[in-house]
Symmetry: C2
Subunit: 395 residues, 2 copies
């Protein structure tokens, strides 16, 4: 065994926050405090952007009570960033790491963050700088490769399931057609979680549209008419990322971030557009059509936390640090599901390149043949992660 890497660590958070991303931060920090070869714990403000500016917080001194408060607080406590660094920016980061004798870098984020970590790891290798970088997974989109699922997803999924559970009751009370737009740019996982709201025949959502299937306007109108004919009402879950056969979003405001991604969240435009399509489908008839866009509440709502998600988010942070401090090899932490009933999982390390860049999508086995609902296999996969949901009462 080679000599252990001795030096400081930097940890940063990147991308869209989640309700449990601070669990990963705190898991990593508490683990690092126990590793003698980690000589300093620097938190980077706003991820890579903070590193370039040497904007660090010393994370070795906070009380455990304070860190536990942070762990239970949604959104990135260090601040986050949406920045895909180019080569020059990665070099700057690497220069700062050398200057501060940083030997460990932990980046909590999605596939773009894994790519950033990968580039910096490669730079260190080429420069023969002893260095270990480990990516800590998080994303409400659940779209990372290799891992069974991503920390952050299950809490957002729990929010979505509860939201549909209540909204379906609301729709039942006053009737009509309700469109709810759910986050998830390219992957339909979060939208699919709406299906967990169903407890009895006739419960909504009655239709689920995912970005993995072409959104056909004519079919959509027919689907809604069919559901209304059957139940006298209709609750629809639509991913913000649904697109037509040419891959064009049904509607977007056109703004793009530095990763080249179109702005799909933070606007009610898609919901209003789908509501307009529904009204077209019922031209000449009196129908009550409403649309809600769940927006940022899905990823940052306090108290709506999946217990398993909180626990696993803590564990991936801890695992990353312990792996780095003992094995010293780069990688990304992934989760392997050992059992669904009772639920059990374990962490393992996968190469950074296996997670970086490309994201994944809902598996075909999770989507029904008509492309407007999910399958039982999906429920079996998602239900243990989201945790027990309250029972709704009927008269």
């Amino acid at each position: 065994m080679t000599a252990k890497l001795v030096g400081k660590m930097v940890i940063g958070q990147s991308g869209g926050p989640t309700a449990v991303i601070n669990q990963s931060l705190v898991g990593a920090v508490l683990a690092a405090r126990k590793q003698a070869n980690i000589t300093g714990i620097l938190g980077a403000r706003h991820g890579i952007a903070g590193i370039m500016k040497e904007d660090f917080i010393d994370l070795s001194t906070q009380s455990e009570a304070q860190l536990e408060l942070v762990a239970n607080t949604p959104a990135a406590a260090l601040g986050s960033v949406r920045l895909k660094p180019g080569k020059a920016e990665c070099e700057k980061v690497f220069e700062v790491f050398r200057k501060h004798d940083v030997r460990y870098f932990f980046y909590v984020g999605g596939n773009d963050s894994a790519e950033t970590a990968h580039i910096i790891a490669e730079m260190a290798r080429e420069a023969n700088y002893d260095f270990c970088t480990v990516h800590i997974p998080k994303t409400i989109d659940n779209d990372l490769k290799v891992t069974d699922h991503c920390p952050g997803f299950a809490s957002a999924a729990r929010f979505v399931a509860l939201a549909f559970m209540g909204d379906d009751r609301d729709n039942r009370a006053l009737s009509g057609i309700k469109v709810n737009v759910v986050m998830g740019r390219h992957a339909g996982y979060l939208t699919a979680a709406s299906a967990l709201a169903r407890q009895a025949d006739g419960d909504g959502p009655h239709l689920i549209y995912l970005p993995e299937r072409v959104f056909d306007v004519a079919q959509f109108k027919q689907d809604v008419r069919d559901v209304v004919a059957k139940y006298g009402r209709c609750v629809i879950a639509a991913s913000e990322g649904i697109a037509d056969k040419d891959g064009n979003p049904i509607l977007t405001s056109g703004e793009r971030d530095s990763h080249g991604n179109v702005q799909l969240s933070g606007t009610g435009a898609l919901g209003d557009s789908l509501a307009a399509l529904v009204k077209e489908a019922f031209t000449g008839e009196k129908v009550r059509v409403r649309a809600d866009t769940f927006g940022y509440l899905q990823r940052s709502f306090p108290t709506i936390i999946s217990p398993i998600d909180a626990q696993e988010a803590r564990e991936v942070g801890k695992y990353a640090v312990n792996h780095a401090a003992t094995a010293g090899t780069p990688g990304s932490v992934a989760i392997r599901r050992l059992s669904s009933t009772p639920y059990a999982s374990e962490c393992f390390i996968t190469p950074l390149a296996s997670v970086a860049r490309e994201a994944t999508h809902m598996k075909d086995e999770f989507i029904n043949a008509a492309g407007n609902d999910v399958t039982q296999a999906w429920i079996d996969y998602a239900a243990p992660l989201v945790g027990e949901l309250p029972r709704m009462g009927n008269l």
Copy 2:
């Protein structure tokens, strides 16, 4: 004391559902089962609409366990209705009541429902039909007269406070300007509840716009620029009912219900419109602007319940039945606050006419001089109702 009224009761739910409206239903039903002079308990499907169709459910047979499940389920379990009945419709209702020997009518709803109850009570009086009608208050808008506050408000307020608490962290992590549109057509109470999210200096919401004050676009732009200059970011709470100096909504989709009310919920149009105004205020500068419209989640989210709200909603239902069965006089149940610390309240009966028709607004003492925030008096009023909120952690 006159002889007690002997006969059946009808109970209905009306208007926008709340998270605890079923507590009132169950409180009334369980109380009625103990009153010997109430000889039958009929639940009207979709309020007045169901009564006219004689669409009733027998509520005397369900197990208490089942009723407790219903009590903890958001949205109106009997179904609700948005129907302001005319004289002919009220006569039809009265005819159905006579036919079924109904001597008690309980209507759970807002000021419009109180008015309906009032008209029917007057009809019975004119016809010398021994009859007692009691209005049971509910509304997330908190806009009923006489009562200190309305059942349903505190749970929706809790949702709004938690939503802003998390969203403020989200905004802090990625920065920018965030507009959140909150329900409340004419009364700003629910929007004002966003202020309960603040725990430390700099916490959002930084600006709160209520329908009780004229919304001035130029002032709004200046307000946002001032906050951004100070904090580098800005979280805004805006009521769906904000209007310009001529009383025109800033933007609506134009749809109206049978009460003549414009559709303000179930569309992201106002949020997107406010986001566009913010972008105008920063023309030529790079700013990240997002808008969310909380929508129906505010009134129907399972598990986000204020304990005091659940308890009081149960109590007003119970109180209505016990009052009717013993005193036999019509009225509306109201809540009197006895103490804020520790919180204590009691129910009393106020005349139907004192609650019917006109709603109320936020008191002036609750709104700051600039008209873009609330006062400490508001916090003192609202905090005990909403209940303890989680502490957010900082680094």
